[in-house]
Amino acid sequence: MLQRLRESKSMQGTLLALPTTAWLFVLLIIPLILTLVVSFGQRTPDGNVVYTFSLDNYIRLFGYSTDCSDGQASCFDPLYVNILWRSLSLAFNTTAIVIMMAYPLSYFIARAQPKQRNVFLFMVLIPLWTNFVIRVYAWMMLLRKEGAINAIIGWAAHLLGLHFTPLEMLYTPGAVLVGMVYEFLPFMILPIYTSLEKIDNSLYEAAADLGANALRTFLRVTLPLSMPGVVAGTILVFIPVMGTFIVSDILGGRQVILVGNLIQRQFLDARDPTFGSAASLILMVMTLIVTYFYTRKFGFGEEIVVA
């Protein structure tokens, strides 16, 4: 037996890959299948699952409702579609803003003196390694009515003799957006930096020699070569934003409902694991679709490995 193992490369390969594959099969594939099965079930009044095959949950998610206020037999209830749309928009907006903020910073670090580069890089790592929940809390302190931002503006207004009503920033959709941007900004900075750093200086020299000005160099040399980093960063930002529920929970006052919140609530407060499972799978599908089309256009982003 051992002899066969020594000789068969195929068996060796299988054996090496087996622990990981088995682990993921049990903890990823099977749960996904279970979620799928539960999503076709129905809830009992007490919140248990009846295993049948029913598309009710999906139908409900996409807005078909028989419970219409104007007495019609069926109508379109956009409630859940709105939630899905809201999450997509937030994810897109966050990603766009994050790219706009991260790119100058990554560029700055990549073009710094090699010695300084590490310092600037580590300055990005510190917020990144600070706990996620703590970072959200920090924004609570800044945004509340008597928080730091209002305090500073109020003080400045006082100095200038202007009347100032404190801004209501916390518990709004804007707060959620700011929170999301803050959470995921470092995840975009690092991949973009990695790909920018790899650009050989001689390319810049060549461009200059050929008469390109700064803008042209950027558009024709820098930007295209940094795309793997941008793509990697987008994947690292877009996907988590789609699923995050903490930021909207804490900074949105339980009023800003995103898909993540919907799923969480279905499993906890609303006691409908079947509907929650359906929502969970739709979220996954939506994310996969967007990721697929994005990577087809822009490549897979080898910079996802920021080693």
């Binding site: 060796q12 390969g13 299988t14 539960v38 300055m123 703590i134 302190m141 699923g243």
Partner: protein, 298 residues
């Protein structure tokens, strides 16, 4: 053209982003010295070094720590220590296991052809491209549905019962960490120069010795990178832990979230500041190590 020259626009933008990154952290640290339990407005630093200090209009017990009142408060908090312990135990165990099986898988995928290869590759990509909540809910569903049945079938009772706790959290962490480890090691293997191995084999070494003495040392940086990445992911994880933990397995992120659900005193800020400090020290030390390494080389 000086490759290190940057336009003022870039410098200005970079500065603004750094300010954006650090403003909340500065506020967080500042408020950890707040002389107000309600922690809404900053009422100034605590200046009294005595057993009882005035705060929010009434007298409050305080170990004589002066401005560091909330840090002393934090030190008395056993729950935090336990949460920190749990976090580290889980991170360590999960990292060791994930790195081991992940490296094995990376080697298999990069160098061997075997029947389940496409399936292995696919399952490794999935955790990266799905939101954590989907995975968390799925795993919770799995555990909830199967534990009851398993406990009955195997006649487990009392403390031996399968239930949500440190075990489930660790096992779940490994699941989402392994793809990252594998990816990192695979990337390292991709650029690998096989001529070293061939040379070793030519000189008479068998496959195992070659691996041990040539291959593995050369991929070690990649393996360690993967391990470090995995460790960081585990330390900071909230979502997966949220769905798979049980009593007594609280980790620091879950604990902080719990604190936010109660009266938020500056103790949370003290905890946050300590965390930031630990990260800062780790980063500075790594930087120092790297500098030393550079110096030795030159």
């Amino acid at each position: 053209m000086n490759p290190h020259r940057r336009s003022p626009f870039v410098i200005a933008a970079a500065t603004m982003v750094y300010i954006f990154l650090y403003a909340p952290i500065v506020v967080l640290i500042l408020y950890s010295f707040n002389a107000s339990r309600a922690n809404v407005k900053f009422e100034g630093f605590i200046t009294q070094f005595s057993d009882r200090i005035e705060m929010d209009g009434s007298m409050v017990e305080a170990s004589p720590c002066g401005p560091f009142h909330w840090y002393c408060d934090l030190a008395k908090n056993d729950d935090v220590m336990e949460a920190a312990q749990n976090t580290l135990i889980i991170a360590f165990t999960a990292t060791i296991i994930a790195t081991t099986i992940g490296t094995m898988a990376a080697i298999a995928l990069q160098r061997y052809d075997f029947k389940i290869k496409p399936f292995s590759q696919l399952t490794l990509y999935i955790p990266i491209v799905i939101p954590e909540i989907v995975m968390g809910i799925g795993i919770l569903t799995l555990f909830s549905q199967t534990f009851g049945w398993l406990n009955n079938v195997l006649h487990l009772a009392g403390d031996a019962r399968l239930a949500l706790g440190i075990g489930t959290v660790t096992v779940s962490h490994i699941a989402f960490m392994v793809p990252f480890v594998t990816l990192v090691v695979q990337a390292r293997l991709q650029g690998f120069d096989k001529s070293f191995e061939e040379a070793a084999m030519d000189l008479g070494a068998n496959e195992w010795v070659t691996f041990r003495r040539v291959t593995f040392p050369m991929i070690l940086p990649g393996v360690l990178s993967g391990a470090l990445l995995a460790f960081t992911l585990s330390l900071d994880d909230f979502v997966i832990t949220f769905f798979t933990n049980g009593p007594g397995s609280t980790t620091l992120p879950i604990y902080v979230y719990g604190l936010l659900r109660r009266i938020i005193t500056p103790q949370v800020n003290a905890l946050s500041t300590v965390w930031i400090l630990v990260v800062f020290i780790a980063v500075v030390l790594l930087q120092w190590l790297q500098n030393r390494e550079e110096k030795i080389k030159h």
